[in-house]
């Protein structure tokens, strides 16, 4: 192929790519579905952690609480609670709710002190 044809060839590749992106992003954007709990927005995660704290407060079952927290922060239950506490305070959760979440945080720290100091 001569130079002109090569340029045309590359241009239509770019055109095809652009057309695909316009179709996917503008004409028929992807519908968000089949997501997982770890992708929830921070305020929903805060409420999720509050639910875990409520059940933990009633049952004292830390293992179950960890299992529940694992859904929103795999392997990092303490970080999930700490992040949720920050969100909850920013969102103006009542003190009783904050206290329950803090209770859960303290229990997690007590159960795994090394995680509490790991940056």
């Amino acid at each position: 192929m001569n130079r002109g044809r090569w340029i045309g060839f590359i241009l239509v590749i770019i055109l095809g790519l652009a057309a695909g992106l316009v179709y996917g992003w503008v004409i028929r954007p992807a519908v968000v579905s089949n997501t997982t709990l770890d992708s929830l927005r921070h305020d929903y995660k805060a409420d999720y952690v509050l639910m875990v704290a409520e059940t933990y407060n009633a049952s004292a079952d830390l293992s179950q609480a960890k299992q529940d927290l694992d859904q929103i922060a795999p392997g990092e239950p303490l970080k999930a609670v700490q992040a949720a506490l920050v969100s909850a305070q920013a969102l103006g959760y009542p003190n009783s709710d904050l206290q329950m979440m803090a209770q859960l945080e303290l229990a997690l720290k007590a159960a795994n002190p090394t995680e509490a100091v790991t940056p």
Binding site: M1, R5, G8, F9, I10, V12, I13, I14, L15, G16, L17, A19, G20, L21, G24, A30, V32, N34, T35, T36, L37, S39, L40, R41, H42, Y44, D47, Y48, L50, M51, V52, E54, T55, Y56, N57, A58, S59, A60, D68, K79, V81, Q82, L85, V86, Q89, N95, S96, L98, Q99, A102, Q103, E105, L106, A107, K109, A110, A116, V117, T118, P119
Partner: protein, 284 residues
Amino acid sequence: MNEKRGPFYLFTGLLIGAVIGILISRLVLPVRYTDTDPSTLRPDQREIYRSLVARAYLAEADVNRAKSRLNLLEDSAMIEELIAQAQTALASSDQQSSARAMALLAAALSQTGISITPLPGAVTPLAVVQSTPTSGAVTPSATSSQAASSPGVTSTPANTSSPRPTATPQPTQGSPFQMVSKDELCGSSGNAPLMQIFVQDVQGNPVPGVKIEITLVNSAPAYFYTGLYPEINNGYADYMMVRDTIYSLRVGEGGQLVTGLQAPVCTADGTSYTGGLKLVFKQP
């Protein structure tokens, strides 16, 4: 010679561009969702969320809060989904408490006036042991400690560990149960079409732990027990009915087989809806 090939190479270019676009979107930079809301969760994750809402309801007994949380899932039939999941969980031995929580929440949502007592706190407040500042410690621990010791928080006495009420199936003694009454329930179109079963002994006392066998036409029998709703009645059990389906029911081992049970069709304001049944079984 090349000048005689025509413009088809342009289509080839378009095709290559599209393939590259698909490869990028699928393999190199696949879509990764963030900041989603619960309504977009995939089915298994919805079940986890629903179960947690119910368990939190059991702990806090706040039906409005539970309803608000369930609303986030945007289920078209919230109560039915809850009951269906409860019935599925009942079949699993390690999900009995979740099943009970979901069944109880479904009952509270479908029937006004049902309230439960919040479970007593089982957690003894911990002493704040992380007070020593650590260079690598994350900020939230300080804020949470503040929250825990906030002067606005009411001082709560240390709670002692209290076992949660559990429904323990018990063998039924005495004569076989017989149905003594059958009433159609057409309370409200918003109510779930439940088959409500009340089991009583010869003195009329509710009997928990009685095995109930329910059979649909051309399907294997399903089993459930009374006593899973102590807040309603110790001898109470219910089953979600489907319109135009005929059920057979046997309460207890060797009890009377009741056939031809069907959800009634109720009418209100010119619209029809599926009602429920209230069945009372008693030992003669």
